[in-house]
Subunit: 221 residues, 2 copies
Amino acid sequence: MIRLENIEKVYRTDRIETVALTNINLEVDEGEFISVMGPSGCGKSTLLNLIGLLDVPTEGHVQLDGAPITTYRDRQLAAIRNREIGFVFQTFHLVSDLSVLDNVQIPLLYRRMSNRERRERALEALDRVGLSARVHHFPSQLSGGQQQRVAIARAIVGRPRILLADEPTGNLDSHMGEEIMGLLEDLNRGERTTIVMVTHDQQKAERTARIVRLFDGRQVN
Amino acid sequence: MIRLENIEKVYRTDRIETVALTNINLEVDEGEFISVMGPSGCGKSTLLNLIGLLDVPTEGHVQLDGAPITTYRDRQLAAIRNREIGFVFQTFHLVSDLSVLDNVQIPLLYRRMSNRERRERALEALDRVGLSARVHHFPSQLSGGQQQRVAIARAIVGRPRILLADEPTGNLDSHMGEEIMGLLEDLNRGERTTIVMVTHDQQKAERTARIVRLFDGRQVN
Ligand SMILES: Nc1ncnc2c1ncn2[C@@H]1O[C@H](COP(=O)(O)OP(=O)(O)OP(=O)(O)O)[C@@H](O)[C@H]1O
Ligand SMILES: Nc1ncnc2c1ncn2[C@@H]1O[C@H](COP(=O)(O)OP(=O)(O)OP(=O)(O)O)[C@@H](O)[C@H]1O
Ligand SMILES: [Mg+2]
Ligand SMILES: [Mg+2]
C-alpha cells in the first residue's frame, strides 16, 4: 500500500546542507498499524511528510497502492492527499480564524456532501476526541491538548484509508492519551485504516505491529 | 516567593463561560522545584500564565517576592517579567522571521549588555540544549523537538530567578527529555532557580519536590 524506495531527503539552507533522510526503504501493507521512533531531529516528521505527499524526496520513489506518486503533478497529488490521507501534524496547523467545528470540516469541503452532513460528520469526529463542549471555540481559546485533539478530529473526519499521526499524544495526559490510542486502534481494527504513528512513547509504540527506528536520517532496525 | 491567593479565572466567549481555575491557593518558596499535573484542559497553562504575569486573575491575588503584583500596571509587570521570569511556552511561540540565535537573544535586548555578550550568552544557552549546529536556522527549518529546545534556551538565557516550563519535554524522545530534565535540575540546584514545571510525565514529576494536581480548574491534593 505504501512503499518508499531508496529515499534521500536533503535540505539546503544558505549555510548548511542537512541530510534529513538517507537510504530509506519502507513498505507498509494495507491495514497495518506501525510506529516510527527516534531522537529529536532524526527525520521522523520528514518521513511522514514524504508518505503523506506533502513533500518530495531529493532522490528515490514513493508509491501509494502501486501508483508511482513521485511522477505525479501537484493537482493529482492534492486530490489523492485529500481523498486517501489524513494527517495529524506535530504542531497542529489549525486555522486560527475558523472555529473548531469549521476547522474539522475542512477536509470535507472538496467532497460532494450537503452542508448538514459535513457538520454532522465533524460533530461526530469531535465527539470521538471528547471535544463536544468546545465546537464553537476558536483555536486560541483551547488548551494545547485540546488543539491536538482538534487536529486528530480533522485528520479522521474524512475516513481516510491512510492516517499519518505525528506525535498525536505528545500534549495529552495519560488518560486522554489512552483514549486517543484506543481510537486509533478502533480505526485500524474496525475500519482497516492503515496507520503510521510517530511517537516518543515506547509503551504506545509496542502496541503496534512493528516499530521503525530512525537515527540521524537512517533506519537502524 | 510566589503566592496565589483565592484565585479564580473565568473565560467568557460569545456562547459559553468557562471556569478555567477556581479556589486556587498556592505557595512556592524560593529555590523550590515543583510540578503541576492534570488532564488536558484542566487549567495548568492558565495557572502558569497567571504566575508568569502573562494574564490576570478574574478574582484573587498574585504576589511575587511579597509584592502585590495584581495591583501593578502593565509597564511594571513587563519589567518584572523580563527581569525575573523565564517562560517555556507549550506551543513555543518562536518568531518565525528571526533565526534561532536571534530568537534566543530576545530576552536580553532589554538589558545593558554589549551585542557580543548577548550573542555569547545565546550561543551558550543553545549549546546547553544541544542545538549548536542549528543556530542560523529559522524555526520553520527545525524539527518539533528542536523548536521546543529553542524555546527552552530562550527561557533560560537571561538567568531568570523563576522558570515556568509548560510541558518542556512533550516533543522530546526519552534521551533528550532526560537531558532537559537534567538541565532543569542543574539550574535548580546550582543556581537556585525556582521552577514550576507542567508535565504529563509522572516519572519526571516525581523527581521534583512536590506535585500540584489540578482537575477541572480545582486543586485536588
Ligand atoms: N481564551 C480562552 N477563552 C475561552 N476558554 C479558554 C481560553 N483559554 C483556555 N480556555 C479553556 O480553559 C480551560 C483550561 O485551559 P488550559 O490551557 O489551562 O488547560 P491545560 O491544563 O493547560 O490543558 P493541556 O494539558 O491540554 O495543555 C480549557 O478548557 C480551555 O478550553
Ligand atoms: N526546511 C528545513 N530546512 C533545513 N533543515 C530542515 C528543514 N526541516 C527539517 N530540517 C532538519 O531536518 C532534520 C529532521 O527533521 P524532522 O522534523 O524530520 O525531525 P523529527 O525526527 O521529526 O524530530 P522531532 O522528534 O524533534 O519532531 C532536523 O535536523 C531538522 O533541523
Ligand atoms: Mg517531528
Ligand atoms: Mg496546557
